[in-house]
């Protein structure tokens, strides 16, 4: 049975560096994904993810387990993303589409997914990325936390320090805007 986050946190607080690095290994991808989806830049997202773990490591003594470790990491990440956006005074950037590598696509495709499907999925993915970049930060964050990190409404409300009903409203409004934008881009109706 896999060791829980809480157990690893307890060991890390006792000075076990390996345990903390297990947490890093476990959470580095979700944290990077969160940072990327919020700020839209790969390199900066990597920096934010790295800084998140450094800050978590330094502040581990102050983490009393009142929230889940993952929620704590998410909070640090979102704060860092906010700092970055404030510093850069910019909205997230949808990265320019890179060239489509057929070998890469072939490798990425699942057994039941054709190359055409993979290409189509990537195009939809880019359209989603562009549409998400247009959303206000609070709506975007609520959607990211719900759709890609599976948080409950209550967990999102705690994370963003807002009422439960606000989370639902942000989700509804954000999804509605996305839907219209995707329709505009000719994406709705595919799949």
């Amino acid at each position: 049975m896999a060791t829980t986050d809480e157990e690893l946190v307890a060991r890390s607080r006792g000075g076990d560096l390996d345990s903390f690095n297990q947490l890093v290994l476990r959470w580095e991808r979700p944290i990077y994904a969160l940072a990327y989806r919020v700020i839209g830049r790969e390199e900066e997202a990597r920096d934010v993810a790295q800084e998140t773990f450094l800050r978590a490591f330094r502040a581990l003594g102050g983490f009393k387990g009142q929230a889940k470790f993952s929620s704590w990491l998410y909070r640090i990440t979102l704060n860092l993303c906010r700092d970055w956006m404030r510093r850069e005074r910019r909205t997230p950037v949808a990265q320019a589409p890179e060239g489509i590598d057929i070998i890469d696509l072939a490798g990425a495709g699942e057994a039941v997914e054709s190359i055409e499907d993979v290409v189509s999925r990537r195009q939809v993915g880019r359209a989603v990325e562009r549409a998400m970049a247009l959303l206000p930060e609070e709506q975007r964050t609520a959607i990211i936390m719900k759709e890609y990190h599976g948080l409950t409404f209550q967990e999102i409300a705690d994370l963003l320090d807002c009422p439960l009903s606000t989370v639902k409203t942000r989700l509804y409004q954000g999804l509605s805007v996305l839907r219209k934008q995707l329709e505009h881009d000719g994406v709705e109706g595919r799949f």
Partner: protein
């Protein structure tokens, strides 16, 4: 009714039994809400297509990381340090060999050797705008470079021999020169060994990072498969619910 918060709760299946019953009754009668729910579900499916670019993440907190650990950017070799070291070695060697460089109307002239004194009279320099670099200047340059290198290099080296050579003036015997050259060679060998060890360590680190990335990719793949299975179940459940409603209505 058309309660959007309730609709969102239903969309994400975070709704209690009574609310669900109430909403389903409403949906059966309200085409607008039904269409909206279907559209929102479609949008959610599209959202699943957005994945961040694959990125190599091999973060690791290392011992003594009270200061920020070396980032993935700084793991690369400090080229400036090697360049400075190379210049320093060349300069030191030039100082030992009593190199004299002149540039005049008759072209570039490089002369080495300890047997004769280095000419110092300015009149012998054809172009006074480009004076010869004397051993004393070489020594000063070497000393400056050495100080700079010591500032830059993080690792503790022992530049004592080189510094001593650089500062020791040009008048030494051939045996002394040989001894110093041997010292330089020995130091160079030590440095090469250190660089080799560094490269081996970097290779080991990269290999380990790749292994962890591969493991994470496999884990992600497994999670993706699980998510796809869950989505299929959800769709089946929705379909069953739809069929059930239709059958109820037809009754």
């Amino acid at each position: 009714m058309c309660d959007k918060e309730l609709l969102v709760g239903y969309l994400y299946d975070e709704i209690d039994y009574a609310e669900r019953r109430a909403l389903e009754s409403h949906l059966a009668a309200c085409t607008g809400c039904r269409d909206e729910l279907a559209a929102l579900r479609g949008t959610r499916r599209h959202l699943a297509a957005w994945a961040p670019p694959e990125s190599q993440l091999d973060f690791q907190i290392v011992s003594g990381a009270a200061k920020p650990a070396r980032t993935w950017r700084s793991y690369r070799s400090p080229v400036w340090a090697f360049a400075a070291a190379a210049v320093l070695v060349l300069a030191a060697a030039a100082a030992i060999a009593n190199v004299e460089v002149r540039y005049g109307t008759d072209g570039l002239m490089v002369r080495t050797g300890w047997a004769r004194p280095a000419p110092s009279a300015p009149s012998q320099v054809a172009d006074s705008a480009a004076p010869a670099i004397t051993p004393a200047e070489w020594s000063a340059t070497v000393a400056a470079l050495d100080r700079r290198l010591q500032e830059l290099e993080t690792s503790q080296s022992s530049p004592g021999a080189m510094t001593q050579i650089a500062a020791s003036g040009p008048r030494v015997s051939d045996a002394e020169v040989l001894r110093r050259v041997r010292e330089l060679l020995s130091e160079s060998e030590t440095r090469q060994n250190r660089e080799l060890a560094l490269r081996i360590r970097q290779l080991a680190t990269e290999f380990d990072a790749q292994r962890r990335v591969d493991l994470a990719t496999i884990q992600q793949g497994l999670q993706g498969a699980t998510a796809a299975e869950a989505a299929t179940h959800r769709q089946l459940w929705d379909l069953t619910q739809g069929l059930y409603r239709v059958s109820q209505q037809s009754k």
